[in-house]
Every structure is written in structure tokens, then in C-alpha cells.
Amino acid sequence: MFFASVQRDLRLLLRQGSEAWLVLVFFLLIASLFPLAMQPETKTLLAIGPGVTWVSALLSVLLSMPRMFAADAQDGSLEQMLLQSEAWMAMLLGKLVAHWLASGLPLSLVAPLIGLQYGLDAGAIAVLVAGLLLGTPMLTLIGAIAAALNLSARGGGALLALLMLPLCIPVLVFGAGAVEAQSAGLGAEAHLSLLAAGLIIASILAPWACSSAIKIALD
Amino acid sequence: MKDHSFYILMSYGVFALVVLIELYALRRHRRRAIEEAKQMEAGMHRQAEGNSHARELDPS
């Protein structure tokens, strides 16, 4: 059921067309705005590069979040899944993974482009990508809780941002911190292992919270 | 030693303001809640043709 769910969500996403790659374009676009808003000096760019990449990634994931459950809740598919109580968790995990495959993963893979724009060296870029690969699943997990809570509300995007962004700050801190630690010659292992630990904890707790939020929304 | 009364005033002044705002908001919330409850009560009694009781609840 897990793989069937991943497959279904990815297929639906591909049929929708634009949605999937718009997130990527948005990511690159935001990251390109920062140098235009300031003096593009090598030193400044180097200093803000990792942070800008991470903030852009966070905003792109935020942008992709509403599609996670909203359509399925509206047409009743979420209800039908929830009725299969044994398979429900597997399907939910499938949806989360599918979402990450279509947002976090491609983001992490194009991040080196931004790294080059900001003049990061190869080591820093490697750490940036590693950090994103560990961190974006967490963004998806946290965002999914917010998106599920948002299902109950008539709030829309602003409320989603208000719920999701504060909870994502630790990911941002350690993700961007990893690159800076690498550039400063301190090594990024500590940051990356903290991200990995966070990912493990999040993947245990977040699906549970997400599932309860969905049950609340459909109640 | 420099005079710090501006900072103290700004801190305690805003603090007092916040307390006043909150107390005022609480009062308004309560008024509104009571108003709503009275309307609901009156409506219910009109429906249930128990008008004698509804009159008791009317203000004045």
C-alpha cells in the first residue's frame, strides 16, 4: 500500500504538469533575488549564500505544502484511505515520501547551481547538498503537520506559513550552520549528525501528529 | 550616572497599557458573550412558546 500510494501521488503530480517544476523555479528565483537587493560583493555573497539557499528551500517547500492534502480532502479520497485503518499509516507515509520526492529531492539536487552563483567552494556545496538532503524531509514532515491542521481552517496560505515556519527554525539553523562550519574549517559533522538525529525523531513523531490532525479535520 | 527614566517609563508605561488593553478586551468579550447568550435564550423561549420566562431575562 505504501508503494501504491507513492506511485499514485507521483502520477497525479506529473499529470498536473506545471506544479512540480514551478517549485524548483521558485527556489532558483528567490535565491537570485538576494544579490539584486544588495551589493553583490564576493565576500558578502559568500557569507549569505548558505542562509539564502536554506531560506529559499524553506519557502519553496512551504509553497508546495497546500497541495499535500487539500485536494484529497476535498474529493473524499482521504476519507476512503482513513477507512482502511490498517493501511492508513502506510498510505500517509507514502504521501509524505511522494511529496518529498517531488519537492525536497529536486531542490537539493539543483542547490549546487545556487552554491555556484554565490561562489561557494566544492566542499561547501557538498555539505550544502548533504544538509538539504537531510533537512528537506524534515521540512516536509513538519509542513505536513501544518498542512493537515490547516485543513480544518479556512485560513489559507498565511496561516499555513504562521504554523509551519516557526517550527522549521531548528532545521534552518543547523542546515545553514553546517555550511558555515565547513567554510570556517570546523567541519560539518556535528551539524549534519544533529540534522540526521532530528530527521529520525521527526519521522517518528510527525506522521503521528499529522494523522491526528487529518482525523480532526475530517471529523 | 545617566538618567534612565525614559527607558523605565517606556517599559512600565507600555506594560500598564498592555494590562489595560487586555482588561478592556476581556470586558468586551464578556459583554459580547452575554449579549449572544441572551439573544439565544430569548430565541429559544420564543420558539418553545415559553414567553413568560423570556421576559424575565430581558434587560430593565
Binding site: 500500500m1 501504491a4 499514485r8 502520477r11 497525479l12 499529470r15 498536473q16 485536494a71 476535498q74 474529493d75 473524499g76 479520497s77 482521504l78 476519507e79 476512503q80 484511505m81 482513513l82 477507512l83 482502511q84 485503518s85 493501511a87 475530517l218 471529523d219 | -
Partner: protein, 228 residues
């Protein structure tokens, strides 16, 4: 409390929507081979009651709900029941074709591991008269055709039940909870719906159907009138 063989019993049902109490102290019993028609004006709580019986909506207080003498949490949480619920939004995706939709739904419904391959899916669509639309996206189907897709799901559940009954070990009763299944259907479609229901009851299944009118071709129902 006579614990009749596979009797569905519900009692002490209290249900509200928002601050409005819809149902109080409602109850019913249903024997295998019987169906219950929920009647009542719009907003009288028919759909809400169906959702609540599935465990998708909370009752105001825990009602008494038993199947075959066993207390159950909801119809979806009962190992002896195979539940098919079709509400207002039956969960079809606009982006998938008719056949893909049915395939996904039947993998959800998991008729045991009985091999109901694509062959059976197409047969079901054919039986319900939308075989020609099987590769069209759901979004372009008409309201009546959408209902027919829903019926092909019911059809599949019947066939799977039959296949299982032949080979099977343990009896799992099929129960349908349908929300106005014959709206938007033409005469022929309504007829088919009635026949499907008839077949279900002959198999010893149960059904609770929110409806406005009688269902042609189906046996007499127990009636439950909701609302004032």
C-alpha cells in the same frame, strides 16, 4: 439483548453538527439481508449519521454499537464486516482515468487477496455501462457516469464476496453505506442500482442508504425517518 446471528444493532445515538443537535436517542437493528433507508429532509443528519457510523465523525457520546453481539467502535473497525462507504465526495481523482480510479479504489478495498485483476475491473465497468469511458479522465465524466463508476465499485465488491464465499473460511459480511446513490442516474441506471442492492441482500449483506425516494427493484426496506 438477543445476540442474534450477525445482527447489526445501534442504539443511544446522539449526534450534533456545530452547536445544533441533529439526532437524539436514535437506534435501529438490521438483520443480514435487510437494508435500512434513511429518510428525511436536507440537513436532517442523514449524511452525518453515515459518516459517524463509519467512524469518520464523532458521536456526542459513545453509542451502543454491536455486530453479532460484539461491541464495535464503528463499522470500519470491525473485523467481521467489509465496509463500503460512498459519501457525497466518493474519492475519485480528476487526474486519473476511470479505470485507474477503480483500480486504486479496489486496491484500497482489498477484497482479501482474491485475484480480481484488471479483467474484473473492466467487466465491472462494462456491467455498469461505462466501459467505453474507461480511459477517459474522471474530470470529463458526466454526473450520471460518475455514479456509474461508483456502482462498478459496488459491483466489484459483490463479485469479490462471491469469489470468497466459494473458497472462504471465515464469513465477512459485506455492508454498504451509501449516500443518495441514485441521484443523477437515468431510469436504467436506477434500475441497475436497485438490482445491485438486491444482489447484496441476497448474499446476506447489509446496507444503510440515505435516500429521497424508493429504490426500484429492491426489496422493502426498514425505514428510519430523521428530522422533526
Amino acid at each position: 439483548m438477543t445476540a442474534n446471528q450477525s445482527q447489526l444493532l445501534a442504539a443511544n445515538i446522539y449526534l450534533s453538527r456545530g452547536r445544533r443537535r441533529l439526532l437524539s436517542n436514535l437506534g435501529f437493528t438490521l438483520e443480514p439481508g435487510q437494508w435500512l433507508a434513511l429518510l428525511g429532509p436536507n440537513g436532517s443528519g442523514k449524511s452525518t449519521l453515515l459518516r459517524a457510523l463509519c467512524g469518520l465523525y464523532s458521536f456526542d457520546q459513545t453509542p451502543e454499537l454491536r455486530f453479532a453481539g460484539q461491541t464495535i467502535k464503528s463499522l470500519a473497525h470491525c473485523p467481521d464486516l467489509q465496509l463500503i462507504f460512498q459519501g457525497h465526495a466518493p474519492g475519485w481523482k480528476d487526474g486519473l482515468s476511470t479505470l485507474e480510479n477503480l483500480r486504486w479504489q479496489s486496491s484500497l478495498d482489498r477484497y482479501g487477496e482474491s485475484a480480481l485483476g484488471d479483467r474484473a475491473l473492466e467487466d465491472a465497468l462494462d456491467h455498469c455501462g461505462i466501459a467505453q469511458q474507461r480511459h477517459l479522465p474522471f474530470a470529463v465524466l458526466s454526473a450520471g457516469q460518475r455514479r456509474r463508476l461508483a456502482m462498478s465499485r459496488l459491483c466489484l465488491s459483490l463479485w469479490a464476496r462471491q469469489a470468497q464465499a466459494r473458497s472462504d473460511d471465515r464469513e465477512r459480511k459485506l455492508v454498504w453505506l451509501l449516500d443518495e446513490p441514485s441521484t443523477a442516474l437515468d431510469d436504467q441506471g436506477q434500475d441497475l442500482m436497485g438490482r445491485l442492492l438486491h444482489q447484496l441482500l441476497e448474499q446476506g449483506g447489509l446496507a444503510i442508504v440515505a435516500t429521497h425516494g424508493a429504490m426500484p427493484g429492491s426489496p422493502q426496506a426498514a425505514m428510519l425517518k430523521l428530522g422533526s
